[in-house]
Symmetry: C2
Subunit: 369 residues, 2 copies
């Protein structure tokens, strides 16, 4: 399998390797990692001659594996065989959790300590790159007037967007979790390939994905008068991000053509912002949400008939082994008590990206139909 | 300065921090890094209780600085004041070179061990985000038929591209170095902001930047029959990347509207591919190039009159303290001996990104004029 055979574990640096540094090329042996065998055993490697204890831990079955040291100070471990999928993993070097420096694929995070291992399926999985028409991922920096600083924004346009200059598209605002940033849904969630594949199969309508930076306030900023993150993000989304998107992309701007969903912290944001702005969003969801309590919704649920009439979908999902399950069940109880219509998806899984990728494949096809 | 005050060094994790992990939020103290003071002293921090020796080294004056450990096992060091700019830095933990896990800004590399510290200037520098019209950065995955696998591609369109649907633009193919990948010129080189600013000042023509992955072959792949990287990249560029770009973007397709330049390994690629394909590229450059020797050009230089007639610019730059200076001087000697016209820019500096950002600000304004 050519794609994965390109990652030899240990190689000698060639004359050309290392040219991009300030110094001439180093001649020491370099370690490349991970190396995937044709039967999907995966070998990790790290050169750390002075370390006393090194291990690798990932989302595959088995958890943490001790690595063993060779005479050159290179630590290795082989795990597997591992099923096709997208996995997070980290090295632990004398207790310090870190990315695999042999692997360019890093999960975008506020505190990057996690690498990505992507083993495409045969046949390909819904989040693999497939031989179908592809959309485009756009990176923007915009100046947030409400926050007073530049911010990052990622926008996916569906296949055919540039070929149909008179078509306007519906929009899904897709929020990340508290450890993530605006790049995580593409780099790790594979949202762009999920949509490409769902659209190619005729299961989802072509739509624009908007992935904003949900961290409007530095985490842990407890300085007096610091705005709460949810409120600051809501203002930035409504006053900066949405006008930016609707000025720069051909999107429909009625509530029936806008959806919002997010995971964990982003689930809290999407449920609160979506449900309290029925004039903006008719499709709302939460994946493994830090679901808000009743007070967050003010008087919104006092007129359930009006809510149900405007809302086309309220989709709530959580895994049985998620530490936020109780909070989601309480949210469902609240909706039940108030008479708000919802779809509740109690699934297998923990608070993790394999669940969220799956949820996107279930949620996106329900939108704008 | 709000922008940089958002990075407190040490903070307690809040209930919301850590939600994106598989486990409930951790309550241990977390370390955020870097923290920049208003006078541009920069404090780095890393929690590594079991480490014996930790230091930070960066591109600022002073080089490596030892970090000191507090009673919680948090290592810190303060450097500076540092002039505004974009800096690379790494931590060394018991000899292991690694990114700063407190900093989401990572230099895209084949072996990621380097974080980015960006201190915007006042007034802003040519590579800072400024209050001017902005272009858009696009991420693509395309299937390379010649390499038999999916590949990544980054394309910048200039401000106004979407507003002028009948305009076709010239194209600059911009190649990275051997330690980098297709994302490095934007994430670290700030090529998109450099172009935004040059275009806003009327100094550069609006142009499309194409940033392909210059690693067509795994580095160090010395298996028998393995294609040479330069040849494999040339084929991928000409047969896959250029047709993809010219199908998906409104670009002019004559040589007078195509330029190619790169740094280090990418300089070798751009000089070789550019000069041996005069029907494709009339503007060619090399930044601190791994400049090819005479044989690489075959019979190209045997008819200097024809070369000089077609070539609108051959721009070669190298720093006085660059370890590739001799190779560039030999290349200039070759051009001189053959009677090929060129511009030679012997500048200050080493083999490093501050030089390459500057070169882009000098090279881009000369194009398509």
């Amino acid at each position: 399998m050519k794609f994965i055979a390109l990652l030899p574990l240990v190689l000698l640096s060639t004359a050309i390797a290392g040219l991009a540094a300030d110094a001439p090329p180093a001649r020491r042996p370099q370690t490349r990692s991970p190396e995937v065998s044709t039967d999907r055993h995966v070998t990790f490697g790290l050169q750390a001659p002075k370390a006393a204890e090194v291990s690798v831990s990932g989302q595959w079955a088995g958890g943490r594996t001790a690595m063993t040291r060779d005479t050159n100070g290179i630590w290795t471990a082989t795990v597997g065989p591992i099923e096709p999928g997208v996995y997070e993993y980290s090295f632990q070097v004398d207790g310090l959790s870190m990315i695999d420096p042999g692997n360019p694929a890093i999960k975008p995070m506020r505190e990057p300590r996690t690498s990505i291992l992507h083993l495409p399926g045969r046949p390909p999985l819904l989040y693999d790159f497939q031989d179908v028409p592809h959309g485009v991922v756009h990176q923007h920096t915009y100046f947030s007037k409400s926050l007073g600083r530049p911010r990052e924004l990622v926008v996916y346009t569906p296949p055919g967007y540039d070929q149909h200059p008179r078509t306007r598209y519906p929009t899904l605002y897709l929020q990340h979790g508290s450890g993530d940033n605006q790049a995580t849904w593409v780099a790790h969630g594979k949202a762009h390939w999920i949509l490409d594949n769902l659209i190619a199969q005729g299961r989802a309508k072509p739509m624009v994905l908007v992935m904003a930076d949900g961290h409007a306030v530095a985490p842990g900023d407890t300085s007096p008068g610091a705005p709460k993150n949810l409120a600051a993000f809501e203002t930035d989304l409504l006053e900066n991000v949405m006008p930016f998107v609707e000025k720069n992309y051909r999107v429909k701007t009625d509530a029936a053509n806008r959806a919002i969903v997010g995971l964990s912290m982003g689930g809290e944001q999407s449920l609160r912002i979506g449900l309290t702005h029925p004039a903006l969003f008719a499709w709302v969801g939460g994946f493994s949400s830090a679901a808000p309590s009743a007070e967050a919704f003010g008087t919104t649920f006092d007129a359930p008939g009006a809510v149900n009439q405007k809302l086309k979908l309220l989709w709530v999902g959580c895994g049985r082994d998620d530490f936020l399950l109780k909070r989601n069940e309480e949210f469902i109880d609240l909706l039940k008590a108030k008479g708000i219509h919802y779809e509740w998806n109690l699934s297998a899984g923990t608070h993790s990206w394999p669940v969220w990728r799956l949820y996107l494949t279930e949620f996106a096809p329900k939108l704008f139909q």
